[in-house]
């Protein structure tokens, strides 16, 4: 896993570091953007049997179908944690992943 993802107490994610982007049309409130981010992410995580939920607006909880769960403090830690839970890589270039998204 990448060391930037939590070991060093990473700050804001790069997607969330520009003030103009935070105010773009459709993402005016942090709550709305966060809900949208979780919703989109869950479309992908579903392929791995995982689900992301919000935790108090500050962290996330990643769960699998057997009920195991991990708290994620930072969005950058999502994919390393998902890979640890499913014990294989989450590869967006995997043709099966792309085909499933297009279906």
């Amino acid at each position: 896993m990448c060391g930037l993802c939590g070991i060093l107490g990473a700050g804001e994610h790069w997607t969330d570091s520009d003030d103009a982007l935070k105010k773009r049309a459709g993402a005016e409130t942090r709550r709305r953007e966060r809900a949208y981010q979780i919703s989109l992410t869950n479309r992908i995580l579903a392929q791995y049997g995982l689900k992301l939920t919000d935790w108090e607006g500050s962290s996330f909880v990643l769960s699998n179908r057997t009920g195991a769960s991990e708290v994620i403090d930072h969005f950058a830690a999502l994919w390393p944690t998902a890979e640890k839970m499913i014990k294989r890589p989450c590869d967006p270039l995997d043709p099966k992943v792309v085909d499933a998204l297009e279906a």
Binding site: T15, Q37, S39, W79, L93
Partner: protein, 344 residues
């Protein structure tokens, strides 16, 4: 204005052994524009550097538990930079720019990673242009045989061809190879009038220069020449190659962030450089994004497009990844956002 514009820029000068890094640095330091520059070098070489603020760092790499080679902290560099910052903060001396000269065999990625990962440094310093020197006499062979040399060329924002005055051949073949690896970086000859402005100071976070800088990234002419090379079946191998993807439809920022974060987790070691100018849905102007391996730097919103083309264009310099799979994957992730909007 991006708040990163106020951070101290760090330029990295890299290049293979004997490629003239120190000679170039010495020339640049002679300019009055470089008076407020601190310099960190890895080793004192044959070319003497006389600069009032010059320090040596011993290469001391801390590998994190990840085992990922590019996600290593240059502990020596981090300590030296923190020390420089403290001395600046106490008023011992002032500097407005830092130049780091690497060793000839150095992988630039850990230096870049250190800038983003160290909790103190990341709030005071930002990455400036990476300058790579390539020796016109030996460079072509080094690019073919030395992976460090190839990677140094791939991550560069500016490339300087050195020793062109003593090269037997013209540098056409070398230029062509450099263009294949990194079509977006301007290439200069060392004997040109190389000012700090050309190489160091004009970058993405400079409000006056950023529009011109992103125009380099997406230079259509460079990539149309590159596209011809992509039809060579031998280019779809494990070698480093570059391509520019174009998307007609606006990019959903949230979907893009999920996709790039996932891509870099899975393939960061092989995504040597990504530079994009995005037409983000809901934004009045383009957004510039750039990263080196696992590290993505803060995006910059531009008020205006650098040309009449309003499409999103993203340059990838990758090792062993196929253009078509990256293109299909990003398009599929972006289309998720359309589904979501329709359902809302």
């Amino acid at each position: 204005m991006s708040r990163y514009a106020g951070y101290l820029p760090v330029n990295v000068i890299t290049g293979f052994l004997g490629s003239g890094k120190t000679t170039l640095l010495k020339r640049l330091l002679e300019s009055p524009d470089m008076a407020d520059t601190a310099v960190l070098i890895n080793e004192f070489g044959e070319v003497g550097l006389d600069h009032h603020l010059l320090e040596q760092v011993d290469e001391n790499i801390v590998m994190l538990q990840s085992g990922c080679l590019c996600c290593t902290i240059r502990d020596d560099l981090a300590r030296s930079m923190r020390d420089l910052w403290e001395r600046r903060a106490t008023g011992e001396f002032g500097f407005k720019r830092l130049v780091v000269e690497t060793t000839g065999l150095a992988d630039p990625a850990p230096i870049i990673y250190t800038l983003m990962a160290d909790p103190v440094i990341r709030y005071h310093f930002r990455l400036g242009n990476i300058i790579t020197t390539i020796d016109a006499v030996n460079g072509l062979g080094q690019l073919e045989r030395q992976p460090e040399s190839l990677k140094q060329a791939a991550v560069a924002d500016r490339i300087v061809l050195t020793k062109t005055d003593i090269a037997n051949d013209d540098v056409g073949d070398l230029r062509a190879r450099v263009r294949q690896v990194n079509p977006a970086a301007p290439v200069y000859l060392a004997q040109e009038n190389l000012t700090p402005g050309k190489l160091l100071t004009n970058d993405l976070y400079d409000p006056k220069a950023k529009s011109k800088e992103v125009a380099h990234w997406i230079d259509a002419e460079a990539f149309s020449a590159q596209h011809d090379h992509e039809h060579d079946p031998n280019r779809h191998d494990a070698s480093i190659h570059a391509f520019c993807l174009t998307f007609d439809r606006p990019i959903d920022w949230t979907a893009f962030g999920i996709w790039l974060t996932m891509l870099l987790q899975a393939h960061g070691e092989d995504v040597l450089r990504v530079k994009g100018l995005l037409d983000v849905r809901g934004m009045p102007g383009p957004v510039a994004v750039h990263g080196v391996q696992h590290v993505v730097h803060p995006p910059v919103h531009l008020k205006r497009w650098p040309d009449d083309d309003r499409r999103s264009r993203i340059v990838f310099i990758v090792r062993g990844l196929e253009r078509r799979s990256i293109e299909a994957s990003l398009a599929a992730f972006n289309a998720l956002a359309d589904d979501q909007s329709a359902a809302a």
